[in-house]
Every structure is written in C-alpha cells, then in structure tokens.
C-alpha cells in the first residue's frame, strides 16, 4: 500500500551537449534535496534555466539522472529497471505543461485516459476500463459525450482536465505537476488549481507543483522550494517563505511579481534584479546567484553555500544569511 512519501537526495541531472565545436556538460540540476511528506504539496519555483523541468523528468525516469537518490516509500526509483520500474511507475504520475501537446492527437479521449489502465492493470477488461474512465472524467468535470472526441476539439482548460484524468485514473500516490496552469488562460487557472487541490484531498495525493511564479504557489502548496540555475536556494514551509524570505533571490522574485493593485504597484521601491541568468554550461563559481545578487561579496565566489536549516523547516543556501 503506497503512502506516497517522496524523498529526493542529492539529485543531479546533466546533459551532454554540443558546444563550441566539442562536447560539454550542461548541469541542469545539482545536488537537489527535499522531502515531501505524504499528502502534502511541494511547490518548486524557478525561472527558465532553473532546472525544474529537468528534475521533474528525472523523477519520472524520462531523462537519466547523473547522481542521487529518489526514494518513493523508501524505494530508490533511480535504481530500478525493467519490470520493477514498471511497477513503480504505477505510483508516480505526471501532468504536463502544454495540455494539448501532451495528448496524442490521433486518439480519442477515452483511449487517452484508459492508456495507463491498459499498461498497469492488464487484468481489467474493456468494460471495467470504460467504467473507470467514465468515473474519472466525471470527477474532473468532463461530460460523457467527450469520450469519443479528439484533443484538438478542446480548450486548454478542458485538455488539462483530460491530462489530469489520465494521470489519476489508476490511482497513483504521487503526482508531478509540471507547470500545469502556466499555459492556460488566467480565468481558467484558478479552476484547475482548485481542481488539483480537491483531488489531492480526496485521493490523498502527494504533489510536486512546479511553477514559475510565487503567487500561484502560495495558494496551493505546503512547502516551497526555490531553484536557481539548477541549485536549491531556499526550502521552507509556505508560511515561513512568504513571511520571512531569507535568500536574496527569493526576495527578488517576490519583488518582481506584478501586483494587481495600482497604488501598491507604484509605491514599490525595489529595484529590479539586474542582469540575466548565466548560461548553465558555464555557471559562476561558488554561489551561482552571485552575478546578480545585490549583496554579493568576494567570498561568494569562492565557496558553494551549503543548504543549511536556519530554523526548523527553513533551509537557505547563502553565506550571508
């Protein structure tokens, strides 16, 4: 019986790429470390190049990990192969960023949602699968007449519901959500965020919710992880992160977020963060954030700041904290 406890230890994801005439290593994620207690949600926030998608794909064994452990209910997913891996895949599923692109354009909705059942529950016959699919569709807010329709007929929000139904149809315990609402219209995002929250409570799911903005994460997550250039900058409970952000990058993200209130927005004093994210092929020495950090000192270039718990449940990787 899967509890859905996910512990990630020292996870690194590297890619071999062509660069400047030769081969180079792209360090997409380095030494990433977090725990997700069962039934809770971890929000992973980062901009482009932060490695959040690479981490998601490494957790799902879609790309190889360069090192570390991914412990799902105590079992290291990175060490599994073949049949054992297939069995483990039942427990951890994924929802993708582009809802329409993640659905096979040539398959009907019913076939799409039933596919995990065909792979993981071979003992089910067609009628049983049909019943399960119908039940899950109702649960996510799709009507039975959508069964025979094709992905291109749906709006983004509806397509994401199909993706959610597919991910949950065979009752996994952990779901990795890779920016599930970024590609949706603003008025639809709240619908899907609420749906995920409801489903989590109903099925007791453990969620890893990847997003690029902190405001979304504030609603849906119990814990928040902030990533920059593949490294963890800060890991804290939601309350602590928003009340007391300790890492300069977290503070910069909070400051940069547009505020839908003209009075507040215009009275904001903070200067935007200068520069842009460095190339992951050539990360800065020491603390990778130092090239843009407003308070960087000389020693930030010499040592990689370790992730230390400043208070229980609040870890920060900064030498100056």
């Amino acid at each position: 019986m899967s509890v859905g406890e996910l512990k990630v230890r020292d996870l690194s994801v590297h890619y071999q790429v062509q660069h400047g005439g030769g081969h180079a290593v792209l360090r997409a994620a380095e030494h990433v470390h977090f725990d997700i207690p069962p039934g809770t949600t971890l929000g992973v926030v980062g901009e482009s190049g932060s490695g959040k998608s690479s981490i998601a794909r490494a957790l799902m064994r879609l790309v190889p990990a360069a090192g570390g452990q991914v412990l799902l209910d105590g079992q290291d997913l990175l060490q599994l192969e073949g049949a054992a891996l297939r069995t483990a895949r039942r427990k951890i599923q994924m929802i993708f960023q582009d809802p329409v692109a993640s659905l096979d354009p040539r398959m009907t909705v019913e076939d799409i949602i039933a596919e995990p059942l065909r792979s993981f529950c071979p003992e089910m016959d067609r009628a049983q699968r049909h019943a399960e699919v119908l039940a899950m569709m109702q649960r996510v807010g799709l009507a039975p007449e959508h069964l025979r329709c094709f992905p291109h007929e749906f709006s983004g929000g509806q397509a994401q519901r199909i993706g959610i139904a597919r991910a949950l149809v065979q009752k996994p315990s952990v779901v990795i959500c890779d920016e599930p609402i970024s590609a949706l219209d603003v008025s639809i995002r709240a619908q899907i965020a609420n749906l995920l929250r409801d489903l989590q409570q109903e099925f007791g799911l453990t969620l890893l919710f990847i997003a690029h903005d902190l405001a979304t994460v504030r609603y849906s997550c119990d814990q928040v992880l902030v990533l920059y250039l593949g490294r963890v900058m800060e890991l804290a409970s939601r309350e602590q992160l928003f009340a007391n952000p300790r890492h300069p990058y977290t503070r910069a993200l909070l400051d940069a977020a547009p505020i839908p209130d003209p009075v507040l927005a215009r009275s904001r004093k903070a200067e935007p963060l200068r520069g842009e994210i460095p190339s992951p092929m050539n990360p800065p020495s020491g603390c990778v954030f130092r090239t843009r950090c407003p308070i960087a000192e000389a020693r930030c270039a010499e040592t990689v700041p370790p992730l230390i718990a400043k208070r229980p449940g609040h870890e920060v990787a900064c030498l100056l904290d």
């Binding site: 901009e47 609420n194 903005d213 504030r218 839908p260 963060l273 200068r274």
Partner: protein, 331 residues
C-alpha cells in the same frame, strides 16, 4: 496629418475573418481615443481580440480580414489606406513590439543591420550616422557594449536583451505611438520587471504614447494610465487605472481581478474562479458574450449585447446592470 488633431481615435472598429466554419468576429465595435503621452493598457484573455486589435491599428491584419470602422491618426484615416501611406507610418510614427523576439527579429541579419534598415527607411541618414544612432538607442535601452552588439545576431543575445533590441528598433525613429503585444509574456519574471521598468523610463523620457496589450492585470496596474478590458472582441469596461481596480463595474473585470492569486492578503480555502471557458470567436452567443459565465446574468443579457455607456468621468462599461454588489468570496 494634422498635428493638432487627437493622437489616435478609433471608432467602431471591427475585424472579421471568413473561415470554413463561418465568419469569425475577432474584434467588434471598439471605440476609444489615445491622448498624447498616454499609456493605455488593454487587458484580455485568448479569444478577446486584443492582438487582432493591435494588428488592425497598423493595417497588419491577415489578408482576407475585413476591417471596418475608423482609425484616425492625427486626423488621417488609416482604414483602407494604401500600403505606401501605411509604410510611411510604420516604424516611424507608430511602431510595434511583439511577444516573441526570436520570431520577430530576422535571424539572418545582425541587430545593427536591422536597426539601420529602419533608420534609413524613414530618415535621410548616411550609414555612419545611422550606425551611431543605432548605438545610441541600444544604450538607451541599457544594452551594454552597444558597438559590439550591433554586429551580433539575434540568437547570440539572451531573451531579455533580444526584447530590448526589439524595443530599440521600435523606438529608434522616436514614434508618437508604441504598440506592444504582450512584450513580456515570454520572459522570466525578473527579466520582465527589468523590461517594464525600461518601458516606464523610456516613455517618460521620450513622451511616447503606448498601447500595451496583456493578460496580466499586474502589468497594467504598474504602468498604465488607463485600462480597457476586452472580452470576445469587445471592450467591456474602460477607466483610468485606479478607478478600474478600486471600483470595477463590469462583472468580468471584477471576477478577473478576484481570481488572481495574490502574494499578500488572506488566503481563502479555494481560489475564486470564473466558471466556464473563454469565448470562441467563431461561435459567440447572441446577447452579451460574457453572459454564460456571469454571476449576475439576467434575461435582458441574452438578447442583445449591451452598448458601452459612460458611467462616470472617463469610465465606461458595457453591462445592463446598475452597479454591482461586492462579489462573495472575492478578496
């Protein structure tokens, strides 16, 4: 062109396309004016017609689009104007910044070549003068090492820098109006903050009027003087920015603002949502397009679309309801 006439007056502008599935009305009956130095934010989701509106202003709608109504730039009518007349304006008096700099910049030309092209097209400048002007505008948009950048190709620049380069191209001839179509949507949050600050600074320095189209209410809150909210091709509310946020009178405006996640303030159990889906421009309902999703829908709303009526100084809305009570559950 009459320098004393209002900068931009749009009256009853509509853009329609014929497709296999019938007539698609991307924009219907838009009315607004843009004053000098004014920053107008146009907010809408997909299917709202906001991008089509901008394209129509510069005569860039797809071939086969039927553009009706009137767009007067300093008294000169732009709808139906020939390509030569429009080309004189584009990049020169009215220019545009697009969402994705990678596709909007020519990958085969250097930044310098693209800037010089715009300059020499509209100003009688020697190559040397054009190059120094190009370097100057790059510096104005805070691209460091301007001389070196002039020789670089778009793919050699980072995303934020490409966007700055595009802004530079748009502003190099010091236009009176800058149109921006979701200029920061493809950028990281921290880079977006830089670009928005840049836009504000440039606007103050150069006195350009701006029409910025976005789906993000936070951006208009920060930069705009006035905001127009679009839904299904029509303007449903327009007001100065403070009034819109403090006292939005259209149910969609209120609901949109209420459904945004906030960084501060109380955390309700569930996020406030707008039920239903954004409209399909090919299949709009008779009556108010927002009616299927509106919490206050009335019978009257289903019969004919409400006209845009003035409800206060500089404040118009398109809704049959008289005043709105606060929405339950909204922050």
């Amino acid at each position: 062109m009459d320098p004393t006439a209002p900068l931009l007056e749009v009256a009853n502008l509509s853009v329609e396309y014929r497709t296999q599935r019938g007539v698609v009305r991307a924009v219907g009956g838009m009315d607004f004016t843009l004053a000098e130095r004014e920053f107008l934010g146009v907010v809408g989701e997909s299917g709202s017609g906001k991008s089509q509106l901008l394209l129509a202003l510069l005569g860039l709608s797809a071939p086969g689009a039927a553009v009706h109504g009137s767009i007067r730039y300093r008294g000169t009518e732009l709808v139906g104007a020939g390509p030569r007349a429009l080309n004189q304006l584009r990049g020169n008096r009215i220019s545009m910044v697009f969402q994705d700099p990678m596709t909007a910049l020519n990958p085969y030309l250097t930044i310098g070549q693209q800037l010089v092209e715009v300059l020499r097209l509209h100003r009688q400048l020697s190559r040397a003068d054009a190059r120094s002007r190009a370097a100057a505008i790059l510096e104005a948009v805070h691209i460091s090492e301007a001389q070196r950048r002039l020789k670089q190709y778009p793919h050699e620049l980072s995303g934020g820098m490409r966007q700055r380069a595009m802004i530079a191209m748009a502003l190099v001839c010091e236009p009176e109006i800058l149109l921006a179509d979701e200029p920061t949507t493809a950028l990281d949050v921290t880079v977006q903050a830089q670009i928005l600050t840049l836009l504000r600074e440039l606007r103050e320095r150069m006195g350009t009027a701006v029409i910025l189209v976005t789906h993000d209410l936070g951006i208009v809150a920060e930069l705009a003087d006035r905001v127009a909210v679009m839904y299904a091709g029509r303007c449903v509310e327009d007001a100065d920015v403070r009034t819109l946020f403090a006292d939005g009178q259209h149910p969609y405006t209120r609901a949109l603002a209420a459904s945004l996640p906030r960084l501060e303030g109380p955390l309700p159990e569930r996020m406030f949502t707008i039920p239903g889906n954004p409209p399909n421009p090919a299949r709009l309902p008779p009556g108010c397009s927002f009616a299927p999703r509106c919490a206050y829908v009335h019978e009257r709303c289903l019969l004919a679309p409400p006209p845009l009526t003035v409800i206060g100084p500089g404040h118009r809305k398109a809704c049959y309801l008289d005043g709105l009570p606060p929405i339950a559950g909204a922050p």
